[in-house]
């Protein structure tokens, strides 16, 4: 069987795969990084979004062998080494941007790609960017709110007024 090597969350990893092994299966089954989820089989839901060489991709639509030599970041690599949440993760908690948590890793990985490309997205741009991420719980309202808040915090600004309750400290 072919061997594949890549860097995942800063660590060099390798393993045996078949040609047909998808990146998401390599992450989940070989590396046991189960934070990356599989929510569909037609590349619509975005629960499997990871970063490959700095860009968000759907790990269900990339073969493991195509990521040979690549830099992969998964949800497990998003918090600080001391375990504290990133600005984006923290904004999701503060604005209740998740409920069941299943779509959440893909949302975080997708949104972080947006914010590195566009530090000041409009609400409309956030909503359009999330075209490839489905959520069945939140109605997207608080996800959009959280992403806009994270963008503001990264710019050193207060959370924009979006109405509604936010988490008490």
């Amino acid at each position: 069987m072919p061997q594949v090597s890549m860097t995942v969350n800063g660590q060099a990893v390798s393993g045996e795969v078949e040609g047909r092994t998808l990146l998401v299966d390599f992450l989940r089954e070989t590396l046991r990084l189960t934070g990356t989820h599989v929510g569909c089989d037609t590349s619509q839901c975005g629960a499997c979004v990871v970063h490959l060489d700095g860009e968000s991709v759907k790990a269900c639509s990339v073969f493991a062998l195509a990521a040979e030599g690549g830099q992969v970041t998964t949800i497990e690599g998003m918090a600080s080494p001391d375990g504290s949440l990133s600005v984006l993760q923290q904004a999701f908690q503060d604005h209740h941007g998740l409920q069941c948590g299943f779509c959440t890793p893909g949302m975080i990985m997708s949104a972080s790609d947006l914010l590195q490309k566009n530090p000041s997205p409009s609400e409309h741009e956030v909503r359009e960017w999330l075209e490839g991420n489905l959520c069945r719980c939140t109605g997207y309202h608080n996800i959009v709110k959280a992403i806009l808040a994270a963008a503001a915090r990264m710019r050193g600004e207060p959370d924009p007024d979006f109405g509604g309750a936010i988490a008490a400290e």
């Binding site: 989820h37 929510g39 489905l134 069945r136 719980c137 959009v144 309750a165």
Partner: protein, 827 residues
């Protein structure tokens, strides 16, 4: 110890950290040593006889360990997948209840019916082998359309010659007929409540495991109610007693009803693990879930509303065909009956209501509870027909509703469909909704849209639900084969920390946070000292699970009951420690105090004394501080609200653009407003998804063209505006549970569909469009515009009021809920 938060605050969710860091533990994240992967061969046709099923070549394929078919299941004598609710028909006979085999035997009845199960060392190996199974099916005519099914020669089950599962009626037919005879105006509406695919983002999964030395079975499964699965599967399918069966529902990625039910795959992997001596894991693929998860809704209804000359509702008549699909799912018969017909009064004083419900078998996936379950169907038909009546009578839809509201001083209020609403204030809620939506200035906005060539519309929906199911004696009398209480155990550990074991199951609702808020408030201790444990039958003593917006109202009440028992026992221990009478001990702010003195013992001191009973009233009191409680509700809870939707329709394309959505809701007391708002947002998008996006359509052959995300449109972020969600100023705490809470999980999905459809019909008012069936896809809206009559059609006067109406009968009976449900009903 100072409390770090209280009930009523938007406390951050403690469960979020694990989900935000990829450390959730969903069923598919679990791998058991030496496990096999199970893949099912599913029927490619809707209806047919299996004439050949040769597994020899597949069994010899690489990686395959074992293949099972329906013959194996029959030979093992396994039970049918059970139905948990039995309906007694109008003629006194029981509903038709055909067997639902774990694997199809002889006949397939829907696309997706499992025929064989391949157990292999990998999913790919199993799938490679499935292609080697030699299957031949002699196709039979598919029963798909419910109206045709009544007279179709083909039958889904031999037991039901006309494909009717039950024919059931409810309410006072004679009084309703009399109301119509006296009506000044009758509004009639035929409508479809479209079928939905629940689509929790986590696909279902199940792992079965067996330990031969102890004869212990374990099932890990994506369930909203692990104890119910243990009961149904253990007792009815596999004959495994509870003490030998553990069901674990770990983190579950959304349910929306679809993970209430006991599914054949769960029973199969549990059974198969013992047969092959290895753990067996099945993970549903999304396209597979479209043909194997219970669907929702799917009613075809004719409704008639009788009004007097002033617009007062006199009577409502409903005739519904409700799709059951190919087999009866766990709660399916309850949905169109006791969760639907009982809600037909809505927020109104309609004195006479009659409903006939025929449940139909079809060659489709079964239909069962989906977020709201029966109540959205009732609300949709009611809020649509009320809106149509207003249009016909040239009345403002808000005014017609207001005129018919149950006044706030009329509670408790007995409806003619057997419910007793405990409390409500519908006028205050409507008024807030209208103010939020700036309803008064809508016509200005409509004119502005018109200048851009767009058609603007606004729609109202005033919904009511019955949540917190339910008094067990009541539902038992109505056919439920289980009680519907909830259980809780509160274990105070020696040093004063608290472990709460709840039978509710959180799959997005945030119980770990909300329940901790409730307990912290009640015990006056820090939330960090409280752990909420759920989802494992070996850890949690018992439970009925989470559905029907019941967790806080029923599960939370059970926790409160257990906490209060702990406090009572603590008072006795404290009395001993403080050398006072237990009657003189009060519990305040986490301290047991002797009333009127400064003598006190902290909560943790008392708990330590309970476990280190050196100085302890050992002759009167057992050591330890742990209490169980079962809470059985006295009544349903009745959340209610006004939802308003504003849309713009592009007449060139039929595209509906949702411009605004406003919700004013009365959920009684609110423990965590942040979580409550989130529940409403999610519910609203599910309801709006049903109303204008999601289209689960079978073709005449029983194939499902919308069987994947390539064709089944899921709501996306860019299709919605910001929502405005407020608590009604007329909120009324529930009168009969200790928290005064009503439940919020389903409201959004109940209130929103009619609001959107009413808005689109309003937008198309000059086209004479009186009704559109959901989903209001661009193609459907455009077709209606094209087919529309000239504008005159819209302005045709409704029939002029005729004779003065007779005095309407006032709702009768104030007896208990149970006797009222039986009144005029021969169940």
């Amino acid at each position: 110890m100072a409390k770090d938060f209280t009930v009523g605050e938007g406390v951050k969710r403690r469960e979020d950290v694990r989900f935000l860091t990829g450390r959730g533990n969903y069923t598919d994240d679990i791998n058991r040593p030496n496990q096999l992967t199970c893949v099912f061969l599913r029927s490619p046709v809707a209806h047919g006889k299996i004439t050949k099923l040769d597994i020899a070549a597949a069994a010899a394929a690489a990686g395959v360990v074992r293949i099972f078919t329906g013959d194996d299941i029959a030979a093992a004598g396994l039970g049918s997948v059970p139905c948990g609710w039995e309906i007694t028909q109008t003629n006194g006979e029981k509903m038709v209840e055909p067997a639902h085999p774990i694997l199809a035997h002889g006949k397939v009845r829907h696309v997706g019916d499992p025929i064989a199960a391949v157990l292999a060392t990998s999913r790919d190996a199993a799938k490679d082998a499935i292609e080697k199974i030699d299957l031949e099916i002699e196709e039979l005519p598919a029963v798909i359309d419910m109206k045709k099914a009544l007279t179709q020669a083909s039958t889904v089950h031999d037991e039901a010659a006309d494909n009717v599962c039950f024919d059931w009626d409810f309410g006072d037919k004679a009084a309703t007929d009399a109301a119509f005879a006296n009506a000044a105006h009758v509004t009639t509406l035929e409508l479809v409540n479209n079928r939905m695919v629940p689509n929790a983002m986590e696909p279902r999964a199940a792992i079965g495991e067996y330990e031969p030395t102890t004869e212990q079975h374990t099932l890990y499964t994506t369930s909203q109610n692990p104890h119910v699965i243990r009961l149904l599967m253990g007792a009815f399918v596999l004959s495994i007693p509870e003490h030998k069966l553990r069901v674990v529902a770990p983190d579950v990625g959304g349910g929306f009803g679809s993970k209430i039910f006991h599914y054949a795959e769960e029973a199969f992997v549990t059974w198969a693990a013992k047969q092959v001596g290895r753990p067996v894991k099945w993970t549903c693929e999304r396209s597979e879930s479209f043909i194997s998860d219970a669907h929702g809704r799917d009613h075809v209804t004719t409704a008639e509303l009788a009004l007097d000359a002033d617009g007062k509702f006199l009577g409502l008549r409903v005739d519904t065909l409700a799709n059951m699909g190919a087999y009866l799912s766990t709660f399916a018969p309850a949905v169109p009956t006791y969760l639907h017909a009982t809600l037909l009064a809505g927020q109104y004083t309609t004195p006479a209501i009659h409903a006939r419900i025929r449940a139909m078998f079809t060659n489709t996936v079964w239909v069962d509870a989906y977020r709201g379950a029966g109540r959205p169907e009732a609300t949709f038909l009611l809020e649509r027909i009320v809106d149509k009546a207003a249009r016909e009578l040239k009345m403002d839809p808000a005014e017609l509703r207001r005129k018919n509201f149950i006044p706030k001083d009329a509670f408790p209020y007995d409806t003619p469909v057997a419910l007793t609403y405990d409390t409500g204030d519908y006028e205050a809620t409507l008024a807030q909704g209208l103010a939020m939506a700036d309803y008064a200035n809508f016509e200005t906005r409509r004119a502005e849209s018109a200048r851009r060539g767009k058609l603007r519309g606004i729609g109202l929906s005033c919904y009511i639900e019955a949540c917190g199911i339910a008094p067990s004696a009541l539902v038992g009398a109505l056919g439920a084969r289980a009680g519907l209480y909830e259980a809780a155990t509160v274990r105070v550990n020696p040093t004063g920390s608290v472990s709460v074991f709840t039978g509710s199951h959180s799959h997005g609702q945030g119980h770990e946070t909300t329940f901790a808020q409730v307990v912290a408030e009640r015990l006056g201790i820090d939330q960090s000292a409280i752990e909420i444990i759920h989802g494992d039958t070996d850890r949690v003593p018992f439970g009925m699970g989470t559905y029907g917006s019941r967790s806080l109202a029923v599960g939370g009440s059970a926790i409160v009951k257990a906490v209060d028992k702990v406090i009572d026992k603590g008072k006795k221990i404290a009395a001993h420690l403080l050398e006072a009478s237990a009657d003189d001990i009060v519990f305040e702010d986490g301290q047991f105090k002797v009333a009127g003195t400064d003598k006190a013992k902290a909560f943790a001191e008392v708990s330590l004394a309970a476990y280190v009973p050196h100085q302890y009233p050992i002759e009167e009191l057992e050591p330890g501080l742990e209490e169980n409680a079962f809470y059985d509700p006295k009544n349903f809870t009745y959340p209610a609200g006004t939802h308003i939707c504003e849309v713009e329709v592009d007449p060139d394309t039929g595209v509906v653009d949702v411009l605004g959505f406003w919700a004013s809701d009365d959920f009684g007391n609110v423990v965590n407003p942040m979580i409550v708002e989130g529940q409403v947002h999610g519910g609203v998008v599910q309801g709006l998804g049903q109303a204008f996006i999601e289209n689960c359509a079978y073709d005449e052959n029983g194939q499902l063209p919308s069987g994947s995300y390539m064709d089944y449109a899921m709501p996306r972020a860019d299709q919605f505006p910001r929502f405005s969600v407020e608590t009604s100023p007329g909120s009324t705490p529930c009168t009969h549970n200790p928290l005064g809470v009503k439940g919020c999980g389903e409201a959004g999905a109940i209130g929103s569909p009619p609001a959107l459809v009413n808005a689109v019909v309003d937008a198309l008012k000059d086209y004479g469009v009186e009704h559109l069936d959901m989903p209001l896809t661009p193609r459907r809206v455009w077709s209606a515009i094209v087919a529309a009559k000239p504008a005159e059609a819209a302005t045709q006067a409704a029939s002029a009021p005729a004779a003065a109406p007779s005095a309407s009968a006032s709702p009768s009976g104030t007896g208990g809920l149970l006797s009222r449900l039986f009144g005029g009903k021969k169940n």
